[in-house]
Amino acid sequence: MNVTANPSTMAGSTVETEEIKVSIRNLYKIFGDDPASVLDRVKDGMPKAELLEKHNHVLGLKDINIDMPAKRLQVIMGLSGSGKSTLIRHINRLIDPTAGEILIDGEDVLSFDKKQLLEFRRHKASMVFQKFGLLPHRTVEENVAYGLTIQGISRKEATEKGHYWIERVGLSGFEARYPGQLSGGMQQRVGLARALATDAEILLMDEAFSALDPLIRTDMQNILLDLQEELHKTIIFITHDLDEALKIADNIAILRDGEVVQQGDPQEVIMNPADEYVTDFVADINRGRHVRLRSVMDREALPSGPVLPGSTPLEESLKPLSDAPDNVLSVVNRKGERIGAVSLKTVIDAMGAGQGIGQGADGTQNRYR
C-alpha cells in the first residue's frame, strides 16, 4: 500500500495552530413556505418530525458549527437525507440558509451582493458534482475550460490552461470528445479538471466519486490525493462511504438528520464513536487498514530497539512486529521521538475490532503525527 499517498502522513509535524479557511457558524436551514416563522421553534428544540407534522416545514440543517482548516481535506459524511449535500451548497450559496454565518477567510459569504457572489464562485470556490454536471454539447476541452471562459479569459489562454489540467487527470487524447462518449470515470476526471482549472483555493466535492464503480473510485481517490499533495487546496468532500472518508480525510464531520453528531480527527472517530449512530457506521470498516499504530499503542512503555512510525496502519505493522524481538516495537512520531510501544497482541486484538480498544485510544485527539 502506498503510504505516502495519504495526506494524513503528509500533514507532517503541524502542531502549529491551523489557519481556518471556511467557518460555518450556527447554520440553520429549514425548507417550507415561511422558514423564518418556525426558526425559533427549531432553536427551542422542536424535533424534525413534529416540525413537519405541525408546521409543514422540513428541517434541513440544525445548528451546524464546523471550522475547516486551510489546505486540508475536510470530509462531511452522512447517510442520504442527513443534509450533507444541502450543507455543501451553502458554502458557495447555491442554497441560502435560514439563519447563521458562513465565513470564508473571515468574510461572511451571506453579505455578498450579486456581483461579489459571482466573483467568489468564479475565482475562489469551484465544485465537482456527483453526476458530473458536464455540458453535453461541449467537448472535453471546452468543458475543462468552462470556468475560465466564464471568468472572461480569452479562449486561447483558457484552452491552453485547460490542456495542462486535461493532461494532469490523464485524459490527453480525448480533448475533442463529447462527455457522452466517455465512461463515468473519465467524465468525472473532466469534472475534476474543470474544477481545478479555475485555480480556486476551495474545492467543493459533492459525492464526487459515489457514482463510480469501486475500482475506478479507488483510482480517482488516488488521483485526488496525489494532486492534493502538490496543490494544497482546501477541499470539502461529501461522501456517504466511511472507507472513502477514512482514506482521504484530514478531518471528518459526521451529519445525522441535519445535525453534526461528531467531528474531528478520523482516528478519534474510529476509536471513540460519539454515539450509536457513529458506532454502527464504524462497525463495518476495515480496522487493519484505517486504524493507525498511534491509536492503539501503550503510552507508558518506552522500550529501546527497532521503531515504527505512529502513522503506520495496523495491517502493515504485523510483519515487522512478528519479526521483532518479543514481538514488541517502539512507536515514533514524525520527528523520530519515541512516543509509545505496541505488541503484536495489541495490534491483533485491535484489528479484531469489537470492544475494548477504546481504552487504548484515550487522548488520541492530540495530533502527534
Binding site: 465544485m127 458534482f129 454536471g133 455540458l135 453535453p136 468552462y146 466564464i150 463529447y178 457522452g180 474543470r194
Partner: protein, 296 residues
C-alpha cells in the same frame, strides 16, 4: 315547466344591444387606432412585398439554384436536393411557379416573425411560473379558436391584404414555437445548470451557453411545427387577399375544379415536406454530440 325545457336567456333586445355595443366599441377602436396600427405594420408590409417580388422576379434558374443550395446547407444530403429540384420543376412545369413563390414568401416571413417573437416569449415563460400561467391559456385560445373568428377583427382593423393575412397566419402558427421553447428550457438538466451557476455563470451566460443550446432539439421541433402550421393556413389567408397557392385552391372549391384544386393542394404538400425534412435534419445536425453518443 317552460323554465326547464327552454334555457332562460338574457332576452332578445338585451342581447342585441350587447352585441351592438361590442361591435360599436370595436369599430370605434379600429377607427381611432386602425391607421396607427397600419403605419406600425408598414415596414413589415414593405419587407413582404420586397421579398415576394424578389422571389417572383428573379429568373427561375437562379431561384432553383439558391433553393438547392439552401437545402444542401441544411441537410447535407444529395437525395434531398434532388427531390426538392424535381418537386420545383414539376411545379413550374404545371404553371404554379408564381403562386408557389408567393406562398414561399409569406411562409418564410411568417416563420421568421414567429421565431423572432415566439423565442423570447418562450424564454420568459420558462423563466417565470407566473408568466407561464398567464400565457398558456392565451396560447390555448390561439390554437383552438376557429381562424375565421379572429379574421373578423383583424380585417376590421387592417382591412384586406398581406399584413392582416400574415397576422392571421402568425396567430395560428406561433403557439408551438412558444410552447416548445418553454418546454425545452424547462427540461434542461438541473445538475448541468447548477454546475454553471456554481462556476459563476451569470444569467446571460447560462441562457446562451447552457439553456438554449441544450433546448435546441425542442426549439427546432417548434420551428418545424410553426412552418407546418403556417403552410396549412395558406388557403384561409388567401380569403383575405394573400396571394399564393391558396387562391387557386379557393377558386377550385367554389367552382368544383377538381384538377386545379388537386394540383395546387399537392404543391402545398410538396412545400411542406421539403420544409419539414430540411428543418429536421438541420436541427439534428446541430446536435452533433447526440448523434455520436456512444460508450455509455
Amino acid at each position: 315547466m317552460e323554465f326547464l325545457t327552454e334555457f332562460p336567456t338574457m332576452g332578445r333586445t338585451d342581447l342585441r344591444d350587447l352585441k351592438k355595443a361590442i361591435d360599436a366599441g370595436f369599430r370605434e377602436f379600429s377607427r381611432s387606432y386602425g391607421e396607427g396600427l397600419e403605419d406600425f405594420f408598414h415596414p413589415l408590409l414593405k419587407f413582404m412585398v420586397w421579398f415576394e417580388k424578389l422571389l417572383v422576379n428573379t429568373p427561375w434558374p437562379i431561384v432553383l439554384l439558391v433553393i438547392s443550395a439552401l437545402v444542401w446547407l441544411g441537410s447535407r444530403s444529395w437525395k434531398m436536393v434532388t427531390g426538392t429540384l424535381a418537386c420545383f420543376l414539376v411545379i413550374g412545369y404545371l404553371d404554379m411557379w408564381e403562386d408557389t413563390m408567393a406562398t414561399l414568401a409569406i411562409v418564410s416571413v411568417a416563420t421568421l416573425l414567429c421565431v423572432a417573437v415566439g423565442l423570447p416569449i418562450g424564454i420568459l415563460m420558462a423563466r417565470s411560473n407566473r408568466a407561464q400561467t398567464i400565457i398558456t391559456p392565451i396560447l390555448d385560445v390561439m390554437q383552438t379558436i376557429p381562424s375565421f373568428v379572429y379574421l373578423i377583427p383583424v380585417v376590421m382593423l387592417l382591412g384586406i391584404g398581406k399584413v392582416p393575412g400574415l397576422i392571421a397566419v402568425c396567430i395560428y402558427a406561433i403557439p408551438p414555437m412558444v410552447r416548445l421553447t418553454n418546454l425545452g428550457i424547462r427540461l434542461v438538466d438541473r445538475e448541468v445548470l447548477e454546475a454553471a451557476t456554481a462556476f459563476g455563470a451569470d444569467y446571460r451566460q447560462k441562457l446562451f451557453g447552457v439553456q438554449i443550446p441544450l433546448a435546441l432539439p425542442n426549439i427546432f421541433a417548434g420551428v418545424n411545427q410553426t412552418i407546418m402550421m403556417a403552410l396549412s393556413m395558406v388557403v384561409i389567408a388567401s380569403m383575405i387577399g394573400v396571394a399564393g397557392l391558396g387562391v387557386p385552391v379557393l377558386r377550385a372549391v367554389s367552382n368544383q375544379y377538381l384538377a386545379l384544386g388537386l394540383m395546387n393542394g399537392l404543391a402545398i404538400v410538396a412545400l411542406a415536406i421539403i420544409f419539414d425534412r430540411v428543418s429536421q435534419t438541420f436541427g439534428r445536425r446541430l446536435q452533433a454530440h447526440r448523434n455520436e453518443g456512444a460508450g455509455e
